[in-house]
């Protein structure tokens, strides 16, 4: 009941005209960037951070959430129409969706993706609404050692457990943690790894890192292998609408996809990739039309798309209640909160209930807006795909550099942007995951301060981490999550089989 009252209050914030406008801008921008290959929601939020810090916090955060949800919708359009999923979470959608588009059933594929995303997003946001107060109640009793242990779990699951290679994932995380060390240590006032460069004393900007890795890195990578990789756009032919048969075959996969997506997203595990593939293989097993799989089965689009969106909403649970980002976009949203001096977690629910519940309520609104806007505007979104690739990437780099110097007007910031771009390029080339770097940079300093608080309370005795039952349990979970993938290389094999 408490959740209903809070949500009603939030709704009164969310329907203020300015906030509705921000939500609308968010979903439109999000869909646009989701559709465009080369820009994802994480990069968009990163680019918008410097230009929004003078705006109203509630409005901008509502806009960021709209971008997150919109990006998920937009990504499916690209996956279906050009078989080059912009993000790994859309890979399963591309498998069947692109086949449907080639067979002239692009319309129903887009429709089942959009409606499935709406169903999943709404159910998952309801899950967030009712789960959040419970988690907040639990999190209030957490001491610094428990928070540190929780972050260890997030570090491990984000980087090692669900990736292709635990070693490469952990390497990415270590690079992020290393970057997080750079700058003046707040507690002791000493500078670390700054080498006398004044720009480094203020720590590495999360936006510069994210823009470098995502925008510059992606541009370098795509340009360098343009000669081996060509994209082909499928036109949307035939009716946009789903037949009765399509509806009948879609609704169960939507619900099953949601059931996979939300819990996995809500665990501090991160990544919408696993639930989408789980959903895909489940639908493949349960379908009455097994011969259609691989040739364009609608269940193979409906399920993974629902899972994808439910997982995206799920990642907001640890983000809002614990301050724990488990995806690159969630990390950028955390940076968005931080630029207004807000720290997501149980205290935010107590101090700023209007902002938190306004955000949650506006997620429902954003979801409804996406459903209404997406299908009628699909022609417009498809036109975005017609922007010539040279101008698209040139434009991305121009906005990336301008956003960076607008935040920090110094050539050194651009040099860092370039270095991070080269890093992003090399990581893509050698198949190191990008998200753990961003999560490591933003979560590393927080984990460090919790660890040091715990250690100073215990007068330097590291056993404090084992004496709290919560912290001990979480550290054991982290250890299992770290060791498990070395023994069971099942997930990567499972993915290879699906291909």
């Amino acid at each position: 009941m408490e959740a209903f009252v809070s949500l009603a209050n939030g709704l009164s914030v969310a329907i203020q005209p300015m906030n509705l406008l921000f939500a609308l801008i968010g979903v439109l921008l999000g869909t646009a960037v989701g559709v465009l290959p080369g820009i994802g929601p994480a990069l968009t939020v990163a680019l918008l951070l410097p230009i929004t810090f003078k705006l109203d916090p509630a409005g901008s955060i509502i806009m960021f959430a709209g971008i997150y949800y919109g990006g998920m919708y937009g990504g499916s359009t690209t996956a279906i129409l050009i078989n080059t999923p912009g993000e790994s979470a859309s890979m399963a959608t591309a498998l069947e969706g692109n086949k449907m588009a080639k067979a002239g059933r692009g319309g129903p594929a887009l429709a089942t993706a959009a409606i499935g995303s709406f169903v999943a997003g709404t159910i998952a946001t309801l899950g967030l609404t009712f789960l959040a107060p419970y988690l907040v109640d639990i999190a209030v009793s957490f001491g610094p050692e428990d928070y540190f242990a929780l972050m260890c779990v997030a570090f491990v699951t984000v980087s090692a457990t669900f990736g292709d290679s635990p070693v490469r994932g952990l390497t990415s995380l270590a690079i992020g943690l290393l970057l997080g060390l750079i700058g003046i240590d707040i507690l002791s006032g000493q500078s670390r790894l700054s080498f006398g460069v004044p720009e480094l004393y203020d720590n590495i900007e999360v936006t510069t890192l994210a823009v470098g890795l995502f925008a510059v890195g992606e541009a370098l990578y795509v340009a360098s292998r343009r000669h081996v990789h060509e994209e082909k756009l499928e036109a949307v032919r035939g009716s946009l609408w789903m037949t009765k048969e399509d509806w009948k075959r879609s609704w169960k996969p939507w619900l099953r996809g949601t059931a996979f997506g939300f819990p996995i997203g809500a665990l501090p595990a991160g990544g919408a990739e696993i639930p989408t593939f789980l959903s895909y293989s489940t639908e493949k097993r349960l379908t009455k039309y097994p011969d259609e799989f691989g040739k364009g089965a609608i269940e193979g689009v409906a399920g993974p798309e629902a899972a994808n969106n439910a997982a995206a909403a799920g990642t907001l649970v640890p983000l809002l209640t614990l301050g724990l980002p488990t995806s690159a976009t969630a990390a950028m949203m955390l940076a968005g909160f931080q630029q207004y001096g807000l720290n997501p977690g149980p205290l935010l629910f107590a101090d700023q209930p209007n902002l938190v519940w306004g955000l949650i309520a506006s997620l429902f609104i954003a979801n409804a807006m996406l459903l209404v806007l997406n299908l009628p505007l699909v022609g417009l979104w498809v036109k975005l795909l017609a922007i010539p690739q040279p101008w698209l990437y040139a434009g991305i780099l121009v906005f990336a550099t301008m956003g960076t110097i607008a935040a920090n007007p110094s050539p050194v910031e651009l040099i860092m942007l370039t270095i991070f771009g080269v890093l992003g390029f090399l990581m893509r080339r050698f198949d190191f995951p990008i998200a753990p770097v961003v999560v490591g940079l933003i979560l590393g300093p927080i984990a460090e301060s919790q660890l040091r608080r715990a250690l100073s309370i215990s007068l330097g005795d590291p056993m404090v981490l084992m004496q709290s039952p919560i912290s001990a349990t979480l550290l054991v979970i982290a250890a299992i999550a770290l060791i498990l993938p070395f023994f069971l290389k099942g997930l990567s094999r499972f993915k290879a089989v699906e291909d």
């Binding site: 070693v167 490469r168 670390r192 690739q389 101008w391 040139a394």
Partner: protein, 157 residues
Amino acid sequence: MSTSPRRRVDVAGLAIALILLVLAGIVWWDMTKLQILSPYDLGPKVMPIVVSGGLVLLAIGNAIGALRGDLPARDSLDWTPIVLILGGLAALIILIAVGGGFMIGTALLFATTSTAFGRRAFVTDFIIGAVIAVFVYVLFAKLLTLSLPAGPLERLF
């Protein structure tokens, strides 16, 4: 390297392991210069020790992977576009550093990037880039009141 039946040592993978080892050394060396203020705990040294130790372990892990040839197969690489894009970024950085403002640099970056992606109309793209630069300048500086590095061109507005 999965194309060859016998897995070969991946030199690039060994280079990555070496870089990680060097980074671990830098973090450790930097840590030794820090002073501990509290008599009870390691304070600012805790995280550098953890990160440095972790990097050493990961260097070993990456080296083992490289020796076993575990790295994924890579496409051939076209260096020209990389040089073009990085050149555009370098030109922008130098122009801002010497007080030339960002507009010319941004237009140049737009043109070099679009050349890197296969366009063969440098002058046209330079002009398009300049138009975008003016548009963004007005948007950022006038509407959002953010400061962008100004050169002779920017002062005209």
